[in-house]
């Protein structure tokens, strides 16, 4: 059990990686025990657990999730059941409406992406760390330039804007180059 769940949830919304680690170790044993009993022998429940934790974490970060009822544990198990159901093409998910993840992107994997996006992903990974972070904060975390200034210590919002443009330009040039 997690001692202070409200605090943990707050930190998950902030995208705190240590909170992710805490979440991961807090429910691992219970999750594996529960799912090992319910799935076919040989299925990688640890993999299922990792994917479920990531889906929960990304939902906190992207949607600033606030659980209306139930605990993180209930939610995490519900996600696990949903993932399992999806895997076996079950006709209906086991999970109540409240818990359904409405964001298809979270379930997206590299091999399901169109070619152009796969290329974009490849070139994004090749960008320098600072550019990746700059694009990540804007497009993934959805922070405003003002918030990014506060977080990164760059001079001002204009610096952020022009830095991001340069990174985007670099990315587009790389795609253009490898597309030829």
């Amino acid at each position: 059990m997690v001692k202070n769940e409200a605090l943990l949830q707050e930190r998950l919304r902030e995208g705190d990686k240590k909170a992710l680690g805490q979440l991961y170790s807090a429910y691992k044993a219970a999750f594996l025990a529960y799912f090992q009993e319910r799935v076919a022998v040989g299925m990688d429940t640890e993999d299922l657990y990792q994917d479920s934790v990531i889906a929960v974490y990304q939902n906190y970060v992207l949607n600033q999730l606030q659980l209306k009822k139930g605990s993180i544990k209930t939610y995490l198990f519900a996600v696990g059941k949903n993932k399992l159901a999806a895997k076996f093409n079950a006709s209906k998910a086991y999970v109540k409406e409240d818990f359904l993840l409405s964001q298809p992107h979270i379930e997206m994997d590299e091999d399901q992406m169109p070619m152009e996006q796969q290329l974009l992903l490849k070139e994004f990974k090749q960008l320098g760390e600072k550019c990746r972070e700059m694009l990540r904060l804007h497009y993934y975390r959805g922070l405003t330039d003002k918030e990014i200034v506060a977080k990164t210590g760059y001079k001002d919002e204009n610096t952020i804007k022009s830095y991001r443009s340069r990174c985007l330009k670099k990315l587009k040039e790389a795609i253009h180059g490898s597309g030829k």
Binding site: R11, E14, D16, K17, K18, A19, L20, G21, Q22, Y24, S25, K28, E46, Q50, D51, V53, I54, Y57, Q58, L62, N63, S102, Q103, H105, I106, M108, D109, E110, M113, E116, Q117, L120, L121, K122, F124, K125, Q126, G128, E129, K130, R132, L135, R136, Y139, Y140, G142, T144, K151, K161, S165
Partner: protein, 239 residues
């Protein structure tokens, strides 16, 4: 570049959070305003691609949290326990006399979880090269390349891997100095526990058992689960 209000709209759209009225307005504009359409596609593509990249990175991160304790040791544990039991007294004596022996027992190379090499693609910059060298076990070269990159821009994660490359090259002193300079408790730094864990091992190697114990005890209570089993057993060996 797009107006802030458009970005908010794009954000809501990709997250499926537009209200009915907003959806109508969005669709109308989407059909008539080519610039808006283009900007939205760009936003959506980057959002999706970075989400997948993030997912892959998180998966690597979680794997490092669980691998050593859960899988690798599952079958070896009973055997290891028997051997430990048989030679227990002797080893306890040796461990107490030589805490640096524990360094070799517990040390393993930290995997590259930042920029796993993409096969076939040429490295673009010195940092990419550094991670590639690190992946291939060329730690001396990696250390030089990380150092070169850090001359231009400071970054805690890169510094951590610089220290790891040094550590794997046997340059404990330099690794220790870097690790000690990294943040101890900072939610933006991904490797706080890892940093403390390797510092504890270095302290053991340098026969600074008390300092090692202090770090391990802190990790045991405040840590995020990284090497939790190893921390426990190492602490019991030090008692």
């Amino acid at each position: 570049m797009e107006a802030e209000s458009d970005i908010i709209l794009f954000r809501k759209k990709v997250l499926g959070q537009l209200s009915n009225d907003e959806t109508k307005a969005f669709e109308q504009r989407f059909e008539t305003d080519m610039e808006f359409q283009k900007s939205y596609h760009e936003y959506k593509d980057l959002f999706e691609v970075i989400s997948v990249a993030e997912k892959q990175e998180l998966k690597n991160h979680l794997k490092t949290l669980s691998e050593p304790s859960a899988k690798k040791y599952r079958y070896w544990l009973p055997i290891a326990a028997t051997i430990l039991f048989l030679v227990g007294a002797f080893w306890m004596y040796r461990f107490n006399a030589q805490p640096q022996g524990l360094y070799e027992t517990y040390f393993d190379t930290y995997p590259n979880v930042i920029a796993p090499s993409t096969r076939g693609s040429e490295p673009l910059n010195v940092l990419e090269k550094a991670y590639r060298s690190y992946d291939s076990g060329a730690f001396e070269a990696a250390a030089l390349e990380f150092e070169k990159h850090l001359e231009n821009q400071a970054n805690s994660e890169v510094s951590f891997y610089h220290a790891m490359a040094l550590l794997n090259s046997g340059r404990l002193g330099e690794a220790k100095t870097i690790l000690e300079s990294l943040p101890k408790d900072d939610s933006d730094f991904a490797f706080t526990d890892e940093t403390q864990w390797y510092l504890a091992l270095i302290y053991l190697k340098l026969e600074n058992t008390e300092q090692a114990k202090g770090v391990l005890l802190h990790l045991e209570t405040e840590g995020n689960g990284f090497k939790a089993d190893e921390i426990k057993s190492l602490l019991s060996e030090l008692d």
